[in-house]
Assembly symmetry: C2
Homo-oligomer: 313 residues x 2
């Protein structure tokens, strides 16, 4: 769906997917509050079904399709969490899910797609190969494409995490979300517009995949040229729908280098005893790296996912 979503769409999505998704916990951690000098509220989407917020958008898209008459199959290309989320949202409704995955996608994410009966087609790890492989599948199977972020159904669904966060903790100064393709960030922007426009919204982006920052600075879409970040969920670039929403509503994008991302990931593991993937720790990394902005503030942090396979010795 290619029209620009509006705040009302997030409220509708929340109503639509209430029965399918997990209303995830919001955790605090005294030791991380002490370390940051701020008060942090972690919206734990690592505890969402399929291990990431992506299940919200996928559920919203499938539920809209269900109202219109379900297709035989849905399809997407995804290196990770959107693939697993779509596979489960489809399987829950008896719909086949075809997932095109680059052949270098993390093993844990391939296994997740398979665990939900998604059918994987491997391709070379380039955007061209992903799109042409997907196009063939869409044509052959008459499948409905469900894109990972540049889709109004997906954006509206992702925004429901922030709705829950702000309904539970309404007096936040900031919300900080990771930004990759911008589905979560733009959905969160719409969610805040419904009732909390005074909350300042910040996108947290790896310096090594900083297309959102550069696009906002330039006032036009500039796709990522390098994407060598450990935050594998954030290697994608903004799209034609997510970019204008982010331009309109987001206060700023703050970037952070690899070392603080790794350190923030480990801090959450060690201090909160909670497995987040590096992408989900980028907001904490940004908060810890910008104490000038965040000190003394009440900050909602969207811990976007937990699909990571830590090493054991």
């Amino acid at each position: 769906m290619t029209e620009l979503p509006v705040p009302e769409d997030v409220l509708k999505a929340a109503h639509r997917i209430r029965g399918c998704i997990e209303q995830t916990s919001i955790f605090t951690c005294k030791s991380l509050n002490d370390l940051s000098g701020a008060e942090l509220f972690f919206k734990c989407e690592n505890l969402q079904k399929t291990g990431s917020f992506k299940f919200r958008g996928a559920s919203n898209a499938l539920q809209i399709l269900a109202e219109q008459g379900l297709p035989r199959a849905v399809a997407t290309h995804s290196s990770g969490n959107h693939g697993a989320a779509l596979a489960k949202a489809a399987a829950d409704r008896g719909v086949e899910a075809q997932i095109v995955m680059p052949n270098n996608a993390p093993k844990v994410k391939q296994e997740a797609v398979q665990a939900y009966d998604g059918i994987i087609t491997h391709c070379e790890p380039t955007l061209d190969a992903r799109e042409s492989t997907l196009k063939k599948i869409l044509k052959k199977l008459e499948a409905e494409e469900i894109p990972p972020y540049n889709d109004s159904r997906i954006i509206s669904g992702q925004g429901t995490a922030a709705l829950e966060l702000c309904n539970e903790i309404p007096d936040l100064d900031f919300v900080v979300t990771p930004v990759g393709g911008g589905g979560l960030l733009s959905g969160t922007a719409l969610a805040l517009q419904t009732e909390w426009p005074q909350i300042r919204l910040v996108g947290a982006e790896p310096l090594n995949a900083d297309d959102a920052k550069r696009s906002l600075d330039a006032g036009r879409l500039i796709p990522a040229t390098r994407t060598d970040t450990i935050a594998d969920g954030l290697r994608t670039s903004l799209g034609s729908l997510t970019f204008p929403l982010i331009q309109k509503y987001v206060e700023t994008i703050l970037t952070v280098s690899e070392e603080p991302i790794i350190s923030a990931t480990r801090l959450i593991w060690q201090r909160m005893k909670m497995v987040v993937e590096p992408s989900g720790a980028v907001p904490l990394a940004v908060v810890l790296n910008h104490s000038d902005i965040f000190e003394g503030k009440r900050i909602g942090v969207i811990a976007s996912g937990g699909n990571y396979d830590p090493g054991i010795r």
Copy 2:
């Protein structure tokens, strides 16, 4: 304290430490229920203050001391969680904590002791060196010794985790706890005797440090001869207080080899998005390895701690 504790002591401990400890959450996980064919209730002591159940026993000991008049210092030897727990319980009351640690203790556990202002004295990694180093410190500082498990105050404190578990989920068929020195297992045994003597209690022990199993079989204390297990919290041997309590109340000790322990640890990380240390995953490993005993049952699993530093790539 060297007299044998009784069930009533666990109730007293629970009352005494109520204000100091975390009443930890009990989590379930559909995917691990499916995998085990049982219904598992994880008592999450990895979320306890200092990251393990050890804070319960240490708090009970310090609170008893506080009622009698606090010493200037407390001391123990510990390779891990008891050291950090004692350091915090002491620091919370303005008492100095002296911790003798073998020089091969995991770095994350040494840092934890220091984070709570515990004073570390390193020694060679042998029981002789640990005991003689501790003896010197006790004499020099007139410190009160708080042993890691063979102490009635400690045993009673550790039992309070099971009290909370069974008060919240009273109709369990089994409780499974890890067994190292036996403080948690014997304390849990006393806790079950207060109101739930029908619940079957199983100790879960690494095959590579199976002194509890061999001691029960032989009817006398047989210290561990090998302790090469990844479950570093379970390398200790039963003591003169924990052994008779375990003999009297525990149905059986089940052992499990290293591979299933590693696999169970990763399963909890991946499926529950929760960091447990390998020792805390030994009960799940035992449940998964003995489906003949546990299938179809309701099982309380004490996830004893979360002080592990997983690798990131």
